[in-house]
Assembly symmetry: C2
Homo-oligomer: 336 residues x 2
DNA sequence: ATGAAAGCGCTAACAT
DNA sequence: ATGTTAGCGCTTTCAT
């Protein structure tokens, strides 16, 4: 049994031509003025035989496969894979498409090979996603394909992109502290490197909020985006005698390290020190007290990107910014 | 430009028939005794034109697409998505296949619809994965497809499965404590429900190790598999005066809750209480002290499953058990 | 209102 | 050793 029921089988059973069967099964019977009688017979035949069109054959004729590809650098292996893939999945399904997932390991050669394989299979459209916000080159082979960028952008190419609104997020993080009454002793904890776009944008937003309120940042604690690094940095800094009133941690893992250091020095959250953070990963609600964090809306980002990708007609160029929701929890209190 | 360079173009440029071009491009020139001259011309033509076969057309003829599907219940949205998808990706690429990722949300109707869509596109083989170990029904439509089960099994169906060796893991967790010299005050923290297969198997393994050493479990603390639940349970239990020497937590999140409760009662890890756990999630190395945990080898599970799926000839039936590696860290010490 | 036939790009059985 | 030809299952133009 090489193949299942074909259109020819349905037509034969209905006593019509393939053409007639085709039109009714593709909802073009009105347009083609197929008789009600023929319509019924085709529908019945298709139902009885359990007819399903062979999408390879259709694709060969029409060059549409109703498949899209999510090409990521190192996203799929990272901690946020879940929501990103899940969002793409949900949106793709909503549009009647299936999703190929690929990972390039950040290797242009692998990327090229993958794109070729995808194109060989006539994938309809592509999502290019990066784990950290940055600028990317569009693989030449994709130049004439439908394409949306996720978390990255390709300047001057006219390729639409979807990114979290990190600037607003930075603003909101500081605003949470301001709203609680903090004006002094607000420190930033995290990586200063200007090459980390998300960090840079968050800091820009923070500055805006601070300036608007006429408040000065007390300073910055340098560390990498991991609990251990954050613990060591904050620990050493507290040991040196600094007494902060509020910490803006550049992500939840940094916040976790800060929690550990604060605890070690007998400082209580939020009574002695308030903490806000970014990511709203699972960690945020696992920490004690639960951490107020600005969420990265992975699911939203992905669905927006796919909706854009599959929009009809093709969505016009834009750099979309998805808001990052503030998740208020228990790590912020008014200054003592 | 509907289509790219076709085999006919290559043949024309090489001055041969499509057949000849086909044979050399598919490495069957020896077998077909194509002349060296023709071979060279075809290869040159293909190279110059940048020929790539249209896999839709090939698939229509041969019914092979070099694609596989990973169908998960709620895995893709869960925290372990990354390594599972990544492993499948890596292995699929190694076999020259592309990967469709799907999620059923544990809804049989969605599953049926998804399987149909996949079959419509002539996917070569299927991976059925569940987030928690359990028994599953094989969707009827998949009965005659290549299929491997990941983390689940379908008794009496002859469908191969790949699962973590939870029993051995349970044994190993206890053995870590035994090796450190613990014989008294060993408690298990987690969910007792016999319906959680992983928990049941882990406990069976633990019993085996205990029995072999002639050691008795001190008891069990009941809680759900989350930090907050674990914190509350352990906290209440410590408040009641119990003083454990070692804790076997049924996963890292439970361990995190236990850490918090232990800290609250002034009990130090590992000096006062040793802790071992399961999962080896990121958390394990973020906690202080770093947590000794038995890893769930998601990446390994996925690659094994795909290798089995794409084995040639078809792999024979077996219930494969992948070892769960012990990650020794700093949360275990000899009893004081 | 319905059907015959061509053709998408490839593979393979069958000539020569 | 190479070419001719007939499909795979579908869509669509063109006849009737």
């Amino acid at each position: 049994m090489r193949s299942r029921v074909t259109l020819a089988d349905v037509a034969a059973r209905a006593g019509t031509s393939k053409t007639t069967a085709h039109y009714v099964l593709n909802g073009r019977d009105q347009e083609m003025r197929i008789s009600e009688d023929a319509r019924q017979r085709v529908l019945a035949a298709a139902g009885e035989l359990g007819y399903r069109p062979n999408l390879m054959a259709r694709g060969l004729r029409t060059d549409v496969t109703r498949t899209i590809a999510l090409i990521t650098d190192t996203v799929a292996s990272g901690q946020f894979a879940g929501q990103l893939v899940y969002g793409s999945l949900e949106a793709a399904a909503r549009h009647g498409h299936l999703l190929f997932v690929c990972e390039t390991d950040d290797d242009p050669e692998i990327e090229t090979r993958l794109v070729e394989e995808l194109l060989d299979r006539r994938v309809d459209a592509f999502l290019l996603a990066t784990s950290s916000t940055r600028e990317v080159e569009i693989p030449p082979a994709l130049e004439k394909s439908r394409l949306v960028l996720l978390n990255c952008r390709a300047p001057h190419t006219g390729v639409p992109s979807v990114r979290p609104d990190e600037v607003q997020a930075g603003h909101d993080a500081v605003q949470v502290l301001l709203d609680a009454g903090h004006r002094d002793g607000i420190w930033v904890v995290g990586e200063a490197g200007e090459h980390v776009v998300a960090g840079r944008e968050r800091r820009a937003g923070m500055r805006r909020a601070l300036t608007a309120a006429g408040v000065e940042l007390a300073g910055r604690v340098e560390c990498h985006w991991w609990p251990e690094s954050a613990f060591e940095a904050v620990d050493a800094w507290l040991a040196a005698g600094t007494r902060p009133r509020a910490l803006v941690c550049l992500n939840d893992r940094v916040a976790m390290g800060a929690y550990q250091a604060l605890a070690r020095h007998g400082l209580r959250i939020p009574d002695d020190v308030s903490v806000v953070s970014f990511d709203d990963s699972d960690l945020a609600s696992w920490l004690q007290p639960q951490l107020t964090s600005i969420a990265i809306p992975h699911y939203e980002l992905a669905t927006r990107a796919v909706d854009l990708l599959l929009a009809d007609p093709v969505a016009e160029f834009a750099e979309h910014r998805v808001p990052m929701p503030v998740r208020l929890r228990d790590s912020v209190a008014p200054p003592a």
